[in-house]
Amino acid sequence: MISFVSEVAVIPGGENIYQCIQCGVCSGTCPAAGEMEYPPRKMIALIRAGMRDTVLASSSMWHCLSCYMCTVRCPRGVKPTELAHALEYLADKEGYRVKGTSTPAMYHSFVDSIHSNGRVHEFGMMLKYYLRTNPLAALKMTKVGLSLFLHKRLPLMPKKVKGKEDLSRMIQRFREAGSS
């Protein structure tokens, strides 16, 4: 039975997690810290405490903006942004249903768009996202959406990549080969 911290230490994103001195610069810097139940430093403390379930069930990492300010300021070489991504991956893969944020649904819509078209069709992605989460919320966005559409920034039809099939087959092959 390996500890949660040693599990995280060896995956991409877990670099230098052992070196964290809990100084708090990351949480002090994070623009999203106010939204997070466990901002980066606390998250690392929880990982070290072996509280796997608490960590993966939390919505905190989904609020990460990927602004990388924490990474630039950390005096120990920890990469909290990448760590957040790694935790998102684990949580999603293991089927944790996150409360308090619809970012997972947005990310899924994004990726689905890539799988369908080879590129992200922004209008289609938004539609899918709102249908998945809260169709009524879409109403709030009509003004912005309409404004974008009228300014020729929201084409209704997707552009398709010719190599879309190639991409699908590559992904399929990659998944079959399993993890390295």
Binding site: Q22, G24, G28, T29, P39, R73, P75, R76
Partner: protein, 652 residues
């Protein structure tokens, strides 16, 4: 004399025996050519272990000794001495390192055992060709050079001078005193720094055994332990110090100003100046860059007012040559400049200051008369003190600067003394390790300073609420409370890292010593030899070797003095016999070796047209040996024959 080799395999507890099969190795050694006895023992370096060797020398006629144990750096001298005490020339001894180079670095036990066997076979074959060398003794010059006149240099100089031996104290600044002279109070006793320092400074100035050379720098060093030659440049002060009475009128009358180095730029001094009131020597000097006479040929007010006629614009730098037996480096530290840490706002935002700037500000003899003031003259109502600025940070210095926690808490106390301000300490860990230090921490806590555990993310002037307008806002995570907070304050003090002097590399090269990875001068052994360096006769004391507080600095300085006095009282030192020798019959005088020698140990005899090695300067590095085109140089104790034999032993 037929070689009769004794081999001794050490277990070193489980350090070697836990990985290497010592019994098998001993048996293997017994079977080697020339070996008449092979033994193994738990701790060869112990008295009984050494006794095994001595007994075999006396009773079995062993005349070549191989010990397979740790590194020669550890115990070569131990075993050489054991041989000598039993009547055998110590150079008939060879060590096989089967610990640092074998058992400590090999995981597979079988591989380690095979390697140990190979290393012993090599040593056995080599020792066969050893010669009985004699180490030379050279006399020790009883004078000492101390480089650096801060508290470390002062302490070392005084201790040696008190033994009635001569000390040259060379200081780069116009006065001795160093950084300690700039401090206000010292922790944990809150002694006034100048009050405890100036008596020592005065003693230095008046001690007949100390020749004080301030405003001077070492330019060149040559020689070897007991016999160093040092060139010192005594820079021109443009004052005849024998005539100057130190009345200070010239400084009063001089109309030209310059930023004061002593006050770290917070105040100005004159172009003709003494750095501070208690300077030793209390004589002024002229700064050419700011002096109107040097720059434009005008003024000369000082000349007009000097009754002693001590101004001498024609004065030139003087080069002196000193001969000393030992050198103590006490060149101190430099303060980290926090400008690169953009997010703390130093140099960009008003009222963000460094630790040294705060020391000068709070000092009653300082630029603000001891008043803690903001730009504009008002008093701060809230002050944040940030620990670890530039320390414990892989981007700047990985190390902890050791003194900043105590210094920061001292600042808190001084702020409570001088102002009514609310004081906040931002820390990651509190390091109050010394005598009276934890009690000091307790005292500061009780005085009402607010300790917040969290390294600040930034200091900004971008206000997000009306309360923040016009203030410096510290943004941080209060890690113990677990929330991100913004705290508006009036002033921020950055406790900056101590770092090696900017010219540490140049100085290290000049004195031929090494530096550790953090840039400070390298001691010979971190635990057991904290004041000696890898260069015999050169010692280090104080912050130039690593961050430390005043008590530890003074202790270390006294330790270097003790080491020097050992040398002086013995009056002589032994020179390692493993030096190069030129066979003058074969040498053609091409002088290739002379050009290559890193220690300038080779000279050319014009008459005989051959090169000759100075055994005292030679370090036995072997450069000349490998370069010589006619193979006429040999290295004692590392002859070609011995080295080839060693290789043959390894290759089996």
């Amino acid at each position: 004399m037929e070689p009769r080799i004794g081999v001794y395999v050490c277990h070193c507890g489980s350090n070697i025996a836990g990985v290497v099969d010592c019994e098998a190795v001993t048996q293997f050694a017994q079977g080697l050519e020339g070996v008449i006895v092979a033994r193994d023992y738990k701790f060869m370096c112990s008295d009984p272990g050494q006794e095994l060797i001595k007994k075999d020398i006396r009773e079995l006629g062993v005349n070549r000794v191989v010990v397979a144990s740790c590194s020669p750096t550890m115990h070569e001298p131990t075993f050489r001495r054991a041989c000598q005490e039993a009547g055998l020339n110590p150079y008939f001894f060879e060590m096989a390192n089967i610990r640092e180079q074998c058992s400590w670095v090999t995981e597979d036990h079988e591989e380690a055992t095979e390697k140990a066997k190979a290393l012993i076979a090599a040593a056995v074959r080599r020792v066969y060709y050893h010669q009985p060398l004699e180490s030379r003794e050279v006399p020790v010059n009883p004078n000492t050079l101390v480089v650096g006149g801060g508290i470390a240099g002062i302490q070392a100089a005084l201790t040696i001078a008190n033994s009635e031996h001569k000390v040259y104290l060379v200081e780069r600044d116009p006065s001795i005193g160093g950084h300690m002279a700039q401090l206000d109070k010292t922790f944990p006793t809150l002694d006034c720094s100048a009050c405890i320092l100036t008596p020592k400074m005065t003693l230095v100035g008046s001690n007949p055994y100390i020749e004080l050379m301030t405003w001077s720098e070492v330019e060149e060093v040559s020689g070897y332990i007991g016999n160093f030659k040092v060139k010192v440049r005594k820079k021109a002060r443009y004052i005849d110090v024998s005539k100057c009475t130190g009345c200070g009128l010239c400084q009063e009358k001089c109309p030209w100003k310059a930023p004061s180095e002593f006050d770290v730029g917070l105040a100005q001094r004159k172009a003709i100046y003494t750095p501070f009131a208690q300077a030793v020597p209390n004589k002024p000097l002229i700064d050419r860059e700011y002096c109107a006479y040097f720059q434009k040929g005008t003024c000369r007010a000082c000349v007009k007012f000097c009754e002693a006629e001590a101004i001498d614009f024609e004065q030139e730098d003087e080069i002196v040559e000193l001969e000393v037996g030992a050198i103590i480096l006490a060149t101190g530290f430099s303060l980290f400049d926090p400008t690169p840490i953009h997010q703390y706002g130093y140099g960009r935002l008003d009222n963000v200051i460094t630790s040294l700037e705060f020391e000068r500000m709070v000092n009653s003899a300082g630029p603000t008369g001891g008043h803690v003031v903001l730009k504009g003259g008002s008093h701060p109502e809230s002050v944040a003190i940030i620990h670890c600025v530039g320390s414990r940070d892989e981007k700047y210095h990985e190390y902890c600067s050791r003194i900043c926690c105590m210094q920061s808490m001292k600042f808190a106390h001084l702020l409570k003394e001088h102002t009514d301000a609310e004081v906040y300490e931002f820390y990651i860990d509190i390091r109050s390790f010394g005598k009276g230090y934890e009690e000091f921490y307790n005292r500061i806590l009780n005085e009402g300073t607010i300790f917040i555990r969290g390294r600040p993310a930034e200091v900004t002037d971008v206000a997000e609420t009306p309360e923040e307008k016009g203030k410096l806002i510290v943004q941080f995570e209060d890690t113990l409370a677990g929330v991100q907070r913004r705290l508006p304050v009036d002033m921020v003090v950055l406790s900056c890292a101590l770092e090696p002097q900017p010219d540490a590399e140049v100085v290290a090269r000049m004195f031929n010593i090494s530096r550790s990875a953090d840039g400070f001068f390298l001691e010979r052994h971190p635990k057991l030899e904290p004041v000696t360096t890898m260069t015999d006769g050169i010692f280090v004391a104080g912050c130039c070797q690593g961050c430390r507080d005043i008590p530890d600095t003074v202790a270390q300085a006294s330790a270097t003095a003790a080491e020097v006095l050992v040398m002086i009282s013995r009056g002589k030192v032994e020179i390692e016999a493993a030096t190069a020798v030129v066979d003058e019959r074969i040498c053609s005088g091409c002088q290739l070796c002379l050009a290559l020698c890193p220690y300038s140990a080779i000279s050319f005899d014009e008459e005989k047209e051959v090169c000759r090695v100075n055994e005292a300067l030679c370090k036995g590095c072997g450069t000349c040996v490998s370069a010589c085109p006619s193979n006429s140089i040999n290295l004692n104790h590392f002859t070609n024959q011995q080295i080839v034999a060693e290789m043959e032993g390894i290759l089996g």
